[in-house]
């Protein structure tokens, strides 16, 4: 059984004729950390809203551990927990009472909820503040309390909507650690974020969403690998004993290499058109510097290989070919695209 199953989900709000969610489908396996990554207004929060029974879908279905969230919303609410973007803690209650009442709403017996509240408060580093009123807590603490509260009824799936937006680095790392704990305990986690680093670090799989549609869905590594001509291997070799043309041909003949570019040996940097679009400025600068440097040294050549394969897969073949051509490798660098490159590649650059 899938932990989360969304099928052809459509959500159209009354005030906006453009659908917020437009035929979205995905599944999350039990125990995985699943990330919904997308720009603001992509439909992430609406999707989480449907899954947590707070938003009524226009069409399509959403299930949590096989329970239809629309038809059996009451049962679904027992299986899931939500950590929302905004602080919605009960300001009339203390931190500990927030936890206790939440558990009571979910029918956790009194003895169990008292013990569990104390245990979770300790784990979340809130034990000494248990009696404080909610008005007194900071943003990071509120986030911790909301996670603590969500844990009180032992949910099977936890939904976190932008869990670390607006948190300082310490609070952010703390939240990341707690998400890893949840995963270790077998709780399925579905989180939304537009923070690429966070998604890459935490998620087993990521779905990239924009304009209510799923654009890509895979592991972070596979997503970056899937970017066309995504991995680059740059080698600088000593060309005293061999011909540049021959070396270039030999490199191009390696299986998995999409194309080879001869960069240096001549004066000046590479023509800008030869570089893949979307390279970060830092990379461009590095390339230019490298080119200028190698142009000065006589008898050296620099080649860049573009491949869809992992660098680790392609490297042995590259080194073997260079060895066969009697070229001495003087420098070697690998460029892998970041999740950000994938994100921008898929969702474009325009501002939202």
């Amino acid at each position: 059984m899938k932990a989360v199953e969304v099928t052809d989900l459509v959500k159209v709000y009354k005030k906006n004729p453009k659908p917020a969610v437009d035929g979205l489908s995905f599944t999350a396996e039990p125990g995985e950390v699943f990330g919904l990554l997308g720009p603001n207004g992509a439909g992430k929060t609406s999707t989480i809203g449907v899954l947590t029974t707070r938003v009524l879908p226009t069409s399509g279905t959403a299930r949590v551990y096989g329970v239809d969230v629309l038809r059996e919303s009451r049962r679904a609410r027992q299986l899931l927990a939500v950590v929302p973007q905004r602080n919605n803690l009960d300001r009339s209650l203390s931190i500990r009472q927030n936890l206790l009442f939440h558990a009571a709403y979910h029918g956790v017996p009194r003895a169990e909820r008292t013990a569990r509240a104390d245990e979770i408060l300790t784990r979340m580093g809130l034990a000494d503040r248990a009696k404080d009123r909610i008005e007194m807590v900071s943003g990071g603490q509120a986030q911790r309390i909301m996670i603590a509260r969500a844990l009180m009824h032992r949910p099977r799936v936890m939904f976190l909507d932008e869990p670390s937006t607006g948190l300082d680095p310490q609070a952010r790392l703390f939240v990341h650690d707690r998400i890893r704990d949840l995963r270790a305990e077998g709780v399925t986690v579905v989180l939304t974020t537009h923070d690429m680093d966070e998604a890459g670090k935490l998620c087993d799989r990521i779905g990239i969403v924009d304009h209510g549609k799923l654009l890509a869905l895979d592991t972070p590594a596979a997503l970056t690998r899937g970017l066309p001509g995504s991995t680059t291997v740059s080698v600088t070799v000593n060309l005293v004993a061999s011909d540049a043309e021959v070396v270039e041909k030999a490199l191009a003949g390696i299986e998995g290499v999409e194309r080879v570019e001869k960069i240096a040996a001549a004066a000046g940097g590479p023509p800008p058109g030869a570089l893949p679009a979307g390279l970060p400025p830092a990379a461009l600068a590095a390339i230019a510097a490298k080119a200028a440097e190698s142009a000065g040294a006589a008898g050296t050549g620099q080649f860049r290989l573009y491949t869809g394969l992992d660098a680790a897969v392609i490297l042995p073949a590259v080194l073997r070919v260079l060895g066969d051509s009697a070229c001495e490798v003087t420098d070697l660098s690998i460029g892998t695209p970041s999740l950000e490159d994938v994100f921008i590649h898929l969702t474009g650059r325009e501002l939202r």
């Binding site: 059984m1 709000y13 609406s46 809203g49 947590t52 029974t53 707070r54 938003v55 009524l56 551990y65 096989g66 329970v67 009451r74 049962r75 609410r77 027992q78 299986l79 927990a81 939500v82 929302p84 905004r86 602080n87 919605n88 803690l89 009960d90 300001r91 009339s92 209650l93 927030n98 009442f101 939440h102 009571a104 709403y105 979910h106 029918g107 956790v108 509260r149 009824h153 099977r156």
Partner: protein, 265 residues
Amino acid sequence: MTTAVDTRPSTPLRTFGSVLWRDVFVTGRDLLPFLAQVIVQPFFTLFIFGKVLTSLGYVGGNYAAILLPGIVALNGFLGALQNTTMPLILDFSWTREIEDRLLAPIPIAWVAVEKMLFGALRGFVAALVMIPIGFLILDDVHWPAAAWLPVLLIVILGALVGAAIGMTIGTSVQPRQINILFAVILMPLMFTGSTQFPWMGLAHLRWFQVICALNPLTYVSEAMRAELVPQVPHIAVWICLLVLVAACGLFGTLGIRGFLRRALD
């Protein structure tokens, strides 16, 4: 794995109880502000109209006996209304505190019912505390022992109607409209509810009598007077009860519908 996932055997009724207990618990801690809110205004109304004006001779001596049932009705009705409306407006727009209960394993309509029930409870308490205060301030007011039970039932029904109307208002008013809410809704409700005068006495002011007949509060006041000062002409109790039950049903339905609209996107 094909078996259905286990869910904890929590009954909706128990959850409903916990949700209601939360509100009672919070009120218990803020008892003094709550009492101040419900006592001060009606206290002055009773004091000025029932005591000061009577002793100055501007109003008749038996006016106090007509005023007190109306003020108790008003306090129950309006107390329930305000205590349902205000928290809802704040909850849905600003604090979002209610979300935790909307995610509890009970039907969302039950949360609306709980909010009305709790509002009515506060209104009922507000009405009750006015009774001894009235007896202390006003002279020559006696309530027959046989009338106490029916009066309590009327107050409860009046509070429920007030809460249902409060739910309807609270789910349809935007927070930036709170200011006009008092001027445009609460004040007219207060002064067209036949609380300070018997409805039958308005025969020579026909248009105002018709307006008052549209206010459910009129039927709470009239039913109270029917029990406590039966010699004053009044609307028959059965008509009052019928109107109140119907109003409770109508506004309860509208209120729950409004609540669902606000709670679900």
